[in-house]
């Protein structure tokens, strides 16, 4: 009797930590998912190598107690996520189990939970009508998920063209109800529900084209938006030694960024950091919609103490969910903290398989894996003309803070924005510790992005940014000279130059992520504050001694910080600004 693929079974033949050798009795395919039966518990595993009749599988859970000859069942498919309404506001693990549905305080091995709700009713509105020709990703209808229009699409697995035979009328339905019937080219009828599955390692390509990103994505973080802007659909990464504020910065971005949907993949990092999101997001308001932040957020939590093999899966799961929402024409922002942990998971497995190691014992194909992953982000025009995007920002935790290590180097080749966190800035508590000069944004050089700035912010914006950078560069040079020659070894205007750069540092670059007002700075406010500091730069002052310079600018900075702490254009803000002007007038030369 011939076996079909999904009937293949096997037996455990060897165990080294979470790498298990399985003797199989039929065909299997690379990356196929299987379940190992450990005394009634089913451990999920993925094939990562096949040698003859032995499949090497990585198990997503602890293999404690597993024995030789324990049985294995293969599923015939790769690791898949379930896509449908109900993903928003969920806390998933790396394999898309709904963590809230799991019983008990401790995670139980082999426990699997439904990522969606089978019984929940959704208010469905048809968008397609009989006779419409549709392809994978075409919108058939929509339901309201929290406040967002969630499109029900032709499953991405469908190939070729289909004709809509019928779409169900407006009403309340469950996710597994048939909401549309389509005919394929041969006239065969196919039922479509609100749920579909998709393998996480395969990019969803249900779009027409992927142009270069050209719009600004506001993050509310001044040093990013003003000096190193990220584009909608762009990619960026934040490398930094521990303690330089990677996670605080990512959390700030996730709270404030002007995106429709935020996916946070906590990959191999601290559990308490995820708990912070769990605790705060349901309480915090989304500044643009007034709804709770959690309503637009999905969390994929695979913290450092959760199974190592699932770390890799978790970033792919997150990206696939992002692609699903992008195909609905939404602006998705995905954050992964940290991609280094994922790379380490790859390293552990490569090591167990006794592969020849690359640099620092990482697998040789690490750069390819990373750039492949980053390339799944992007701004797209869908087949119906709408646009959607995934902006991806990953953090990297370089070993020893050394930016020459393989994960940082590989990511640098793939990501277009580089936010270098500096230990020196962190040590002097200048947060966010993004080094304004070492960091860069390739997008700021794109003509289409510059055009966008000119049109949407102000015509002089690009020049202003260049000027601000120049001031910072000169300030840094002067600081070095003052260090070498001493305060009185340099002319007084050197001090003035140094302090004018400090004004930019303290007022624009530094931002208090824990202050209610200062935490998020909208673009019009950034524009206003940058103009203010540049006006101060252009003003001529007179000083007798260098001590006067320092104490004068400290007062200026203090006053402008008070402005940053006050609601924009509020009475308090205006009062502080007035006081600032009084201080400036003291030293201003006509």
């Amino acid at each position: 009797m011939e076996k079909t693929n999904n009937m293949t079974t096997g037996k455990v033949a060897g165990i080294i930590a979470n790498l298990v050798f399985v003797e199989v009795d039929g065909p299997v395919h690379q990356n196929e998912i299987c379940y190992i039966n450990l005394g009634g518990i089913k451990l999920m595993a993925e094939i990562i190598k096949v040698m003859g009749t032995q499949a090497y599988v990585q198990v997503f859970e602890s293999t404690r107690g597993l024995k030789i000859n324990d049985t294995v069942e293969f599923t015939g498919h790769m690791l898949e996520v379930t896509l449908g309404p109900g993903i928003l506001s969920k806390n998933f693990d790396g394999l898309q189990n709904d963590l809230d549905k799991m019983m008990g305080v401790f995670l139980k091995r082999g426990e699997q939970t439904n990522p969606l709700e089978d019984d929940k009713l959704w208010e469905f509105k048809p968008l397609a009508k009989p006779g419409d020709v549709v392809i994978a990703g075409s919108w058939l209808g929509e339901v309201k998920e929290n406040w967002m229009p969630h499109k029900i699409m032709v499953p991405f697995k469908f190939e070729g063209k289909y004709t809509v035979k019928s779409v169900i009328t407006e009403g309340n339905y469950k996710i597994n109800d048939t909401i549309a019937v389509v005919n394929d080219a041969k006239g065969k009828e196919i039922n479509i529900t609100m749920v579909q599955k998709w393998p996480v390692k395969v990019p969803i390509k249900a779009y027409k084209e992927k142009p270069r990103p050209f719009k600004l994505l506001e993050t509310g973080v001044r040093v990013i938006d003003t000096l190193n802007p990220i584009a909608e659909g762009g990619t960026g990464f934040i490398p930094g030694p521990f303690g330089t504020g990677k996670t605080v910065l990512q959390h700030a971005i996730s709270k404030q960024a002007e995106a429709d949907m935020i996916i946070v993949a906590a990959c191999g990092e601290r559990a308490n950091e995820v708990v912070e999101i769990f605790t705060e997001f349901p309480e915090l308001d989304d500044p643009r919609t007034g709804r709770k932040l959690m309503e637009r957020t999905t969390i994929i939590a695979n913290t450092s103490n959760m199974p190592v093999a699932a770390r890799e899966a978790s970033v792919y799961t997150a990206m696939t969910i992002g692609e699903y929402y992008r195909a609905m024409g939404l602006k998705v922002l995905m954050l992964a903290d940290s991609t280094s942990r994922w790379a380490q998971a790859l390293r552990e497995m490569s090591n167990r398989m006794e592969e020849l190691p690359g640099q620092d014992a990482f697998p040789m194909d690490l750069p390819a894996i990373i750039s492949n992953f980053y390339s799944r982000a992007g701004f797209v025009y869908l087949n119906n003309g709408a646009s959607g995007s995934i902006t991806f920002i990953g953090t990297v935790s370089p070993a020893g803070g050394n930016l020459k290590e393989p994960v940082t180097e590989s990511t640098k080749k793939a990501a277009r924005c580089f936010y270098a966190l500096s230990q020196q800035r962190a040590d002097s508590k200048r947060y966010p510790a993004i080094d304004p000069l070492d960091s860069y944004s390739k997008y700021a050089e794109y003509p289409e992005v510059i055009e966008y700035f000119v049109k949407n912010i102000e015509p002089e914006w690009p020049q202003k940014i260049t000027l601000a950078r120049d001031i910072l560069i000169r300030g840094r040079e002067v600081a070095e000279q003052i260090n070498i020659l001493g305060d009185d070894g340099v002319p007084i205007d050197y001090h003035e130059r140094f302090w004018k750069a400090e004004v930019i540092d303290f007022v624009i670059l530094q931002q208090d992520a824990f202050d209610k007002v200062d935490a998020s700075c909208p673009m019009d406010r950034q524009k206003y504050m940058l103009s203010s500091v540049l006006d101060i730069y252009k003003t001529k002052f007179s000083f007798e001694t260098f001590e006067e310079v320092g104490s004068f600018f400290k007062r200026v900075i203090n006053q402008m910080k008070q402005m940053n702490y006050s609601e924009f254009k509020s009475e308090k803000f205006n009062k502080n600004e007035k006081e600032l002007n009084t201080i400036i007038d003291e030293r201003k030369t006509a």
């Binding site: 033949a13 995670l107 303690g243 308490n272 913290t303 190592v308 942990r341 390293r347 090591n351 070993a399």
Partner: protein, 440 residues
Amino acid sequence: METKAFQKIYTKISQITKATCSLKATNIGYEEMAIVHGRLAQVVKIVGENVTLQIFSGTEGIPTNAEVLFLGRPPVLKVGEELSGRFFNAYGDPIDGGPEIDGEERQIGGPSVNPVRRLQPSEFIPTGIAGIDLNNALVTGQKIPFFADPDQPFNQVMAMVALRADADKIILGGMGLTNDDYLYYKNVFDNAGALDRIISFVNTTENPPVERLLVPDMALTAAEYFAVDKNQKVLVLLTDMTLYADALSIVSNRMDQIPSKDSMPGSLYSDLAKIYEKAVQFPDGGSITIIAVTTLSGGDITHAIPDNTGYITEGQLFLRKDTDIGKVIVDPFRSLSRLKQLVIGKKTRADHPQVMNAAIRLYADAANAKTKLENGFDLTDYDERTLKFAKDYSEKLLAIDVNIEVDAMLTACWNLFDKYFKPAEVGIKQEFVDKYWPKN
């Protein structure tokens, strides 16, 4: 470890290395415990019938015909209230001459807490040490190590923190402790009359290094018992985690694994995270807080052990000898408690965060002034004042022998601000200046 009648005894060892031995056996579970020639061992690899065992105390003198007995279970600890006040070795056997524990057996290295079942840590743990409470406040459910050079008094500071902290149980996991340090802890706890709330799992330098690998899991299994079953606040002290990591590298080396940075196993991050992530605030009031020691070699924090630790733990504490005052201080620049934001200004006075930052900034200015001075430059009046401030600040607040309440620390800071600076130089929100700046 009594043998049971149905257990099969193997006597044919096919391979012996320094830390492992292999033999043919069937029906063996992964990570199962075994006794080889009277020594405890654990299954680390099974390929077909070939089972590789890691012998914790080393393989010296093991004959090829040694008796091998599989115990059919992973390593366990017997838990119960009777653990209190007792001293155990790495296997959980008493070493204080007292009776065996008669309690429920729990597998060590058990499953992780579901992240959605954790509570956000929010309870401040005052220690009276201003370098910690003021600048790096600790919170229940936190994990934080001291990064210390071997000559620094980290064991003393840790013992002090343990005794002053308000915890129901203190669990000491000693790895590679010198006998002297072991006796030090024993004496300090004894003299403080706190022995009944302290449980110790100790591997001293006299014991084989690989045994250390069991110590953190033993300590944390006991901690989970008290935190989950008894809803208690448990403080776990782990010293020295560098020696733990060294033991990991010994094992991985003997299993022919490819080393990554600094000869450490590629899985070092996950191995350490598995331990530190046991720190948790449970919803029912119980909590596990971990304070560890990671000794550095030559102060190098880029070495794989402190580096990976730093990425896992919620901050780190540095001790430093301040030569100006001749005392050991908690270094305000390099120390960091990541969870302090959850309590300072919330569980403590509202001006706490700003006062803390202002004082550290002024202290940093003093460090710059000092560099200037050393380079032979003239100091400004402001520089002079920061230097004086720094000395007072170090003496009255940062020194580890300070033992005062948080409010007193804040008052001390405000007094120092007033003594040396004008409000504009301190740069604190006006409302706090109005309220707390001393009015003469």
